[in-house]
Amino acid sequence: MKANRSIVFRLILVISLWSGLIFIVVLGYNYHHSREVLEKELEKNAANLALSLANKVDAELVSVSKVTEGVAKALETADYDEKSLRLLLRETLEANPGIYGSCAAFEPHEFRKESVAYALYFFRRNGTTDAIRLDRSSGSLPYFYWDWYQIPFELGRKEWSEPYFDEGWGNQLMMTCSVPVFKGGKSAGQVRGIVTSDLSIESLTRLVSSTRILRTGYAALISRQGVILAHPLKQSIMNETFFSIAEERRDPGLRKLGQKMIRGESGFVFYKSLVGVKSWMYYTPIRSTGWTLAVIFPEAELMENITNLTMVMTVIGFLGIAFLCIAVFFISKSITSPLIALAGTSRKIAEGNFELDLPPIRTMDEVGVLTASFQSMVTSLKQYIRNLTETTAAKERIQSELKLAKDIQASLLPRIFPPFPERPEFDIYAMMRPAKEVGGDFYDFFFTDRNSLCFLVADVADKGVPAALYMMVAKTLLKSEGQRVGDPGKILCNVNNILAEDNENCMFATVFVAILDTVTGEVRYANAGHNPPLLVRSGSAAYVDAKHGLVLGPLKDSCFETGSLMLMPGDTIFLYTDGVTEAMNRDGEFFGDASVLETVGKASKTGAASIISSVGEELGRFTDGAEQADDITMLAVIYRGMP
């Protein structure tokens, strides 16, 4: 089955699909590539930002730890009593406004032998400094067991505590830096006590929190335990750890990320942020405390420009494809509409309407060329049909004229039977059945005097108009000479000489002419190359032994002998042309002499007319509808004798 989709439809389909596909590939590549470039750029920027933030935070912390270490160093190198210790701590506190409180705690028997513990804590209150003895505050664990004391003591090195809320100090997020004081220098390794500085990290977290990246991006701070210290989600600060969130989200990737952070690694990852937005994050450690600082860039905001650009490009692209389709539509319409018009016109032309004008040729493109060739075809066809019509008309005219000629030819032969009803001494009947074309057979009979009946059968050579004309001449001459001369041989001789006079084409006729004396029954005859006639006597037919002369026409001065035979009453003489013997059936077989003899012999008892009609019927049966090739002519005379 042929798809009946139009060229226009197919063009638009193919072009729009392909250009759409190419456009999508280009757009996709562009988006992807821009994203990659952006990502690389981002990583650099994020790292810079994170490191600078981390350095700021670190600087603050380092300054505090330096102060604390300075106090510890002082205690190690100089001999301090209680009074001078108080002075040192107060001065330290006063000199460092970032430090909220400072403590010096010692192993038992530091200043006095009887004192088991000594821990002096200086802190700020209402703009001034105050001091308390931690070893004397009741109801709490002895300070030896506190983390800020025990961990640096055991480890023998400086230690930052985990951030904590100090409720006594207005719920500020605090941290403590603890530095061990060694007896006899650090190399001796024996820890005498611990010096601490309390530090509010509010300013640090504010610094981090106040960092704004794009519109909703942010920076965050995570402790070395994974606790969230600074984050836009205020409620999660100090309440949640990276790991608790990972647990909550069942996100092993997040947990792994947290582990990396705690190990102090730095990196650049794409993940779903704690506020639930897909983001890029750069994280880097803060050396002094082992915290992690992270800067978070929300993807949507980063990609905003690219996304917007892509959207605009998509719109432009699809508008472009739409315009392309419209252009293709009009171009293909402009190609196919003349084709459709041409097809419509040619269909009408094919139906026979040649006067129709083809669509005008606008451009000499392929369609124009086709139209031009079509035009010339139509012109040639028109010319051809005109010629054919003329030829056909001419042929029809000739045909009708030939038909007329045939009718005239037939009308020249005597056709009224019985022709001589007042003459009972003989019975005569004749017929000529012409073949398709006008032909050259004829018969004739007439009285040359009161008792002499002349009858003849002739066959002019060939067919068509020349034969018909020749027949006319021959017939006229034979009748006039027959009536004038009265002897068959002489008649043929005279007619032959006239015909041979100007016979360039060598036309000729075969003639058998006979004259019956109706009184005696004598038949005198002469033959110019014709089939010998049959004599039928008592039911059997035999050839008349006629001396053959040359056919009539080609050679002047030919001689024709006159023969003679006597008819008894009841005898029949049967003349015919070769159209009878050579009548052909469908298998190409001739009717033949034998069949003629037999048929005529059988029919001889009846009248002349019935002899001829029975031969005719027999011929009809034999040929069985095969086309008649030659004229068929028969003439029968039955001699009855004088009454």
Partner: protein
């Protein structure tokens, strides 16, 4: 109808086979016109393989022989047999043509 020609000594032997009737007679005449214009004058026509001759065929035979004689040429027939012979006898053509029993005989007469 098939016409074959073969130069044999003094004359041109023309072998006519098939049917010579109103349809093929013009072809026969045309062939002889050609041969005459090629300068051939003496012909032996071999009718051995001729199956049938109609009055149109006879007329063509007459017409060509007249043209040959007008050019002082010779036309001899050979092997006229069967129903062609019958037609020749009835029409009296046997009397106006020189008819021989064989091609060799006819050629001998031409060479004569």
């Amino acid at each position: 109808m098939i016409i074959q020609t073969m130069k044999e000594g003094a004359g041109l032997v023309v072998t006519v086979s098939g049917r010579m009737d109103a349809v093929t007679a013009p072809e026969y005449e045309q062939k002889f016109e050609e041969m005459l214009s090629n300068g051939e004058t003496d012909f032996v026509i071999d009718f051995e393989k001729l199956e049938y001759i109609s009055s149109a065929g006879l007329r063509a035979l007459l017409s060509t022989s007249k043209k040959i004689r007008n050019k002082n040429g010779k036309i001899h027939l050979a092997n006229v047999c069967g129903n062609v012979r019958e037609v020749f006898d009835i029409s009296g053509f046997t009397g106006i043509f020189q008819v021989h029993g064989s091609v060799a005989e006819a050629l001998a007469v031409i060479a004569g």
